[in-house]
């Protein structure tokens, strides 16, 4: 009886898995125990801080928190966890910056349409994909009209934009504008014409060799010097120029990788059919190259999305800039853990989502081709 019980137990698949992955040897068992203690300590500390002992909108006495003095942490020092009220109170700033409150519905409208505009590009097996792609091309105009304003609705200057709005605006617009530019650069770098090739190589290597912050400085300080009077792009637009040029160089290298992976036979076959350069490129080479290049392109997009946070250095209020502004407010200083953890989480959700998408594509491409 007891033998069957133990043998049942030994052949149990969970037991087998645990032995194989956690307790395969003495060293492994010790490591597992250390790791368990570590996870428990860190996990319980974090959960207590972030959830169980945290204030959300009211403190433990039930008072609504409007500034730091009312946080439980301040009433009972060292005994309470996070004070998320700062996020709650400043939510509008984190999401929309200094956008006028009565016009916020416009930003929400643009946010709500964003998934519809992207879904057509991301997935190729959705129904009515063609209409989604059409919408993708109309979307920038709708977004511009809704955000900036125009006939019928009031104008909201970009100096009022901030928070997630600026982060998303720079990220999405930068990527969208850099894409066609990067294709031209990548093709130019592989061109047979020496002058065009040199210009593309110099541009790409120059941009990749300097930090983004120097490009942002250039755009911020030097762009006004280059332009004639009257043409004075605002701060956000200047940052967008720098971000777009930066992203186009990195994306061009990703696309070049895709171009190099296309077998020469494809090009020769197309040429022997009598196709010219542009026809060959547009109909044969690019569709295949871009498909291979999507995962590395997505990786550069993740990089760019994170790098948009640099614009706070030239005085724009992106998500991180708004966070810093919130902390410089006397009523909320010292709540830096709460603010930075929250912003990290927002960035993490976007970037992790993109990297999962890139992995999904890689897997799909592998099964498609072999």
């Amino acid at each position: 009886m007891s033998t069957t019980l133990t043998s049942n137990f030994i052949h149990n698949k969970y037991y087998k898995w645990i032995v194989k992955n956690l307790f395969s040897s003495w060293v492994n068992s010790i490591l597992t125990i250390i790791a368990l203690i570590f996870v428990y300590e860190v996990g319980s500390f974090f959960l207590n801080w972030a959830i169980f002992e945290a204030d959300f909108r009211t403190n433990f006495q039930g008072e609504v928190i409007t500034d730091r003095i009312l946080c439980s942490k301040n009433i009972v020092p060292g005994e309470y966890g996070a004070c998320w009220a700062i996020i709650y109170v400043r939510w509008d700033q984190f999401m929309y910056g200094f956008y006028p409150i009565e016009e916020i519905w416009r930003v929400n409208f643009v946010y709500a349409l964003l998934p519809l505009a992207i879904v057509g590009i991301l997935f190729d097996k959705i129904p009515y994909r063609r209409f989604f792609i059409y919408f993708t091309f109309i979307y920038p105009f709708i977004a511009y009209f809704m955000l900036y304003g125009g006939p019928g609705i009031s104008v909201v200057g970009t100096n009022k934009w901030g928070g997630l709005l600026v982060t998303l605006f720079l990220g999405v617009t930068g990527i969208a504008l850099a894409f066609p530019l990067s294709i031209i650069l990548a093709l130019g770098r592989r061109s047979k014409m020496p002058i065009i090739k040199t210009m593309c190589v110099v541009f790409i290597e120059f941009i990749r060799g300097v930090p983004l912050i120097t490009l942002l400085f250039t755009a911020n300080v030097m762009l006004p010097l280059f332009l004639p009077d009257g043409v004075n792009p605002d701060n956000l637009l200047r940052a967008l120029v720098a971000v777009t040029l930066f992203q186009s160089a990195y994306m061009a290298e990703a696309i070049r990788g895709g171009l190099q992976a296309i077998p020469r036979g494809q090009l020769e076959a197309a040429q022997s059919l009598g196709l010219g350069y542009w026809q060959t490129t547009r109909k044969i080479i690019l569709p295949q190259a871009l498909k291979i290049a999507i995962p590395p392109i997505v990786n550069t997009c993740i990089g760019l999305f994170k790098d948009t946070s640099l614009v706070l250095i030239i005085g724009l209020f992106d998500l991180l800039g708004i966070g810093r502004a919130a902390l410089s407010d006397m009523t909320w200083t010292k709540l830096y853990y709460e603010v930075y953890v929250f912003i990290s989480l927002v960035f993490f959700i976007f970037c992790f989502g993109m990297s999962r998408y890139s992995l999904y594509l890689e897997k799909k491409l592998k099964t498609d081709n072999s």
Binding site: A35, V39, T214, L225
Partner: protein, 389 residues
């Protein structure tokens, strides 16, 4: 006749390419010409003078962290070198730390222990999906909210941690210390030859020598013995709390520690991924074959897996080093006096020579990038398969 010429210009590939390039050059030259004209007009109108003469002028500001002596009476050129040295210092320290951390995490990611492996995975995903600037600012904020100097946390009564940095004993070198240093370097060179000699002997006799043990013993003990022979020529100046500050010793500023932590923790996540993929890329047969030959597991790793994995690891590692160096320019956000913050920020504001200063900063970064890729390419060549295409 004329139409024939134009026809050739458009339909013959060679001449058409020439035409296109001539047009591109023409437009480019025109573009540059307009920008130069416009810029000089704008500069004149705003009364901004140009030229590099400002480099000889007094900087008039202090830099908190500098490797070479710097006062506010020094020139902007000297401020440039202070910034450059600070950038190089953070880049070298960051690359060093990131490589060690990255290799450790990368190897843990391949551990057979599920829990260990996944702790490393969580670390990698959380650090590389959050902007490095945010991480630097977060670590710096934590450092700034450490106890004040009066309540500094002592470590073994020699180091003190406070919100103004890490106070540590500073070494005082006396006569004869240079001999200890020389002894250390000679020991390293000696072990190099000893290794070659013992390897040869091993190839002849087949007998194995504990080369690594012997060599590390030589490298460690030579300077220690010399140190005592020379009569302990090294003393330490310990920091002591006096009034509102520490006297004596030296201080590592929180700006530097914050930058170092942010850059190395962020970059280590990327390095660990390249290390992991490098080790995975070595085919399983290599490991099995070397085990079948009777090699122990640490020898399998050292002699078979790592040398082959390095081929795959080096190129992406190079670009991570480049990224780290470029990201060191983020010091401006927390006031670390690197090239962009000191020279590119304060000097620019004081002199207004935006074009000169920004192009100097950019050219410096370009040069650093080129030098790093040059050295890493040389190293890369030495680890590649000989005879491979």
């Amino acid at each position: 006749m004329q139409s024939n010429f134009f026809r050739k210009l458009i339909f013959d590939e060679k001449s058409r390419n020439l035409l296109v390039q001539a047009l591109v050059i023409g437009f480019f030259a025109l573009f540059i010409y307009i920008i130069v004209q416009q810029t000089s007009y704008n500069l004149e109108k705003r009364g901004i003078s140009t030229g590099f003469d400002f480099l000889g002028m007094n900087a008039g500001y202090d830099i908190s962290i500098s490797l070479i002596p710097f006062t506010s009476d020094d020139t902007h050129l000297r401020a440039y070198f202070v910034g450059l040295l600070n950038t190089l210092m953070i880049a070298v320290c960051g690359c060093f730390l990131a490589t060690i951390l990255g290799f450790i995490v990368g190897i843990i990611r391949l551990s057979s222990n599920w829990l260990f492996r996944n702790i490393a995975y969580v670390y990698v995903e959380f650090t590389r999906n959050v902007p490095v600037l945010l991480q630097i600012i977060l670590y710096y904020s934590i450092l700034l909210h450490l106890p004040k100097i009066k309540q500094a946390i002592p470590l073994f009564d020699t180091f003190y941690i406070s919100n103004r940095g890490l106070f540590s004993p500073s070494p005082i070198l006396k006569d004869g210390f240079s001999i200890v240093v020389w002894g250390f370097f000679i020991a390293i060179v000696f072990t190099f030859f000893l290794k070659k000699y013992l390897k040869k002997k091993q190839e002849k006799s087949g007998k194995q020598y504990p080369i690594f043990l012997i060599n590390s013993a030589i490298i460690i003990f030579t300077p220690i013995i010399l140190y005592y022979i020379m009569g302990r020529p090294l003393e330490f100046d310990f920091p002591v709390l006096k009034g509102f500050n520490f006297k004596g010793g030296m201080v590592v500023r929180p700006e530097f520690i914050g930058m170092l932590l942010g850059l190395s923790i962020y970059t280590a996540a990327f390095i660990s991924e390249t290390v992991r993929s490098g080790i995975i890329s070595v085919s399983k047969g290599q490991k099995e074959a070397s085990q079948a030959l009777g090699l122990k597991s640490n020898l399998v790793m050292r002699l078979i897996i790592i040398p082959q994995a390095l081929r795959v690891i080096i190129p992406p590692l190079t670009s991570q080093y480049l990224n780290l160096t470029k990201n060191s320019s983020l010091g401006i956000a927390i006031g670390y006096a690197d090239l962009v913050h000191g020279f590119g920020g304060i000097s620019l504001n004081q002199t207004g020579r935006a074009i000169e200063i920004i192009s100097m900063v950019m050219l410096t970064y370009l040069t650093i990038s080129l030098i790093i890729s040059l050295f890493m390419n040389l190293y890369n060549k030495s680890v590649q398969f000989k005879g491979n295409a």
